[in-house]
Symmetry: C2
Subunit: 278 residues, 2 copies
Amino acid sequence: SKEPVSVSAKEKFSPSQRKRLEALLISDEINLDDPNLPPFEELEAEMVSKRKAELVDIYENSREHMLAKLERDISAFLISKGFIEIKSSILIPEEYIIRMGIDKDVELSKQVFRTDDGKCLRPMLAPVLYNYLHRFGKVMPDPLRIFEIGPCYRKESDGSSHLEEFTMVNFCQMGEGCTRENLVQLIDEFLTYLGISYEIEGDECMVYGATVDVMHGDLELSSAVVGPVPMDMDWGIDKPWIGAGFGLERLLKAKYNFKNIKRGSRSEFYYNGIYTNL
Amino acid sequence: SKEPVSVSAKEKFSPSQRKRLEALLISDEINLDDPNLPPFEELEAEMVSKRKAELVDIYENSREHMLAKLERDISAFLISKGFIEIKSSILIPEEYIIRMGIDKDVELSKQVFRTDDGKCLRPMLAPVLYNYLHRFGKVMPDPLRIFEIGPCYRKESDGSSHLEEFTMVNFCQMGEGCTRENLVQLIDEFLTYLGISYEIEGDECMVYGATVDVMHGDLELSSAVVGPVPMDMDWGIDKPWIGAGFGLERLLKAKYNFKNIKRGSRSEFYYNGIYTNL
Ligand SMILES: Nc1ncnc2c1ncn2[C@@H]1O[C@H](COP(=O)(O)OP(=O)(O)OP(=O)(O)O)[C@@H](O)[C@H]1O
Ligand SMILES: Nc1ncnc2c1ncn2[C@@H]1O[C@H](COP(=O)(O)OP(=O)(O)OP(=O)(O)O)[C@@H](O)[C@H]1O
Ligand SMILES: [Mg+2]
Ligand SMILES: [Mg+2]
Ligand SMILES: [Mg+2]
Ligand SMILES: [Mg+2]
């Protein structure tokens, strides 16, 4: 390689060596600035060997992808709490985006991916869940509880906590019991079940107005809303409701202390947080 | 409504009434040409009542979406058979499409959806599975078994067995035991587990050459391949392999005898085959 042979005591590893070692780490379990670390070749070989052993262990034992397993666990939790499981189209009409209040001048509008035949890759699950609340609201007993988990897409510029392709869970209840207390209670049961610590903060957004944000330090895990909101009428909704949207890869980043959210994303470069180029 | 008040004995229902009744049916459980059927209003009310009761039963008991449940069941089956679960990006680079042999003049190329930033919505799972076979092939014991389940996209014109947004499962094995016999055996175990009858046919395609097609009457459930194929070298693969791709909505169409594949698709109009506009 073309890096200088001798490096200063403070720069034990060249930039490309450091990048390689950071990729081979799971999180920050080794301090790469520790002067007592072995030389690069020895450290790299040791880490490659560990990562290979971990992948072989997954292959011989669990064989589950962490993002899929999290989706299954969340689905089972919500189903056990009385929420009916929805699976709807990832491609949605432009009309739904506009009717969510995501007008051409709103920031979120510039974040929407479009297909070459004029559809939008959904940036959120809310529009179709609104339609299900309306249609199922005429059929199901009160309260109505529904949820969906699936891919969402946003054009993003920020790096370590944003993906352009991510996975959202959105659960909501309509009718009886749609109070802020019950929303916060449900969020608490959800995050206790997942074993992730959190703090509640107030915030605001263009689409809904006031939100209840669920934080893990500086990382936003969720925005949650206590309805009703003025937009409801346009979706045929005239009852109280509560709802929350969580990003699954954000939950994995929090749980496993990943430095970059890519570690738990749909990826060919990382498998359950482990670099695949070994 | 503007339909004629008197209809001939052969046309008991007007076109729009018939369309409404067909939507309210699950499959062909009622013969709409039967002259002894009640008048439209009575039959419609009866069917709406049945469909509502079925939705309420799902809400009070299982609460599982049939497409998600099928994905979970297939994942559990394949994991139990030693296949490691992959989840990779639904958006793939144009380069992967080209390297799969899907050139500009090949039919499948015209079927590919593109995003406004130049990526492609994957029409198949194969390219990233090739990359996983290559990377995991350096790490895992032999034979290597992998699978992925997830959304795929193709522009389609044919109606009742084609969706533009569908769900593929692709499983493959590389190394030892990659024979046509073992492939057919695995397909048999898979479809026996799912309780779906099938016949094996030979066919051909642009991408792989000769395929083993898995049929349910006239409905293609899968194309399967016994590698190696010449394209393998370009993906860094130099061992024998076998693989198969099944559409999950095709499996649901076969199992539940749906007349239109939309019944088991990601949808806001049908929930587990049941029309939601009640
Ligand atoms: N680009 C993204 N990558 C991963 N997760 C995301 C992304 N955008 C949103 N989420 C997740 O979806 C949840 C609900 O979406 P919401 O619209 O509230 O996000 P947001 O307020 O734009 O988040 P942020 O401020 O971090 O961009 C977020 O709390 C987060 O967990
Ligand atoms: N548009 C679609 N809608 C639903 N399922 C599909 C679609 N295209 C392919 N599949 C499923 O994926 C499987 C593997 O894909 P393959 O490329 O072999 O499809 P195909 O040969 O183009 O199918 P067909 O001949 O029916 O168009 C198919 O056997 C089918 O089960
Ligand atoms: Mg944002
Ligand atoms: Mg937010
Ligand atoms: Mg086809
Ligand atoms: Mg085929």
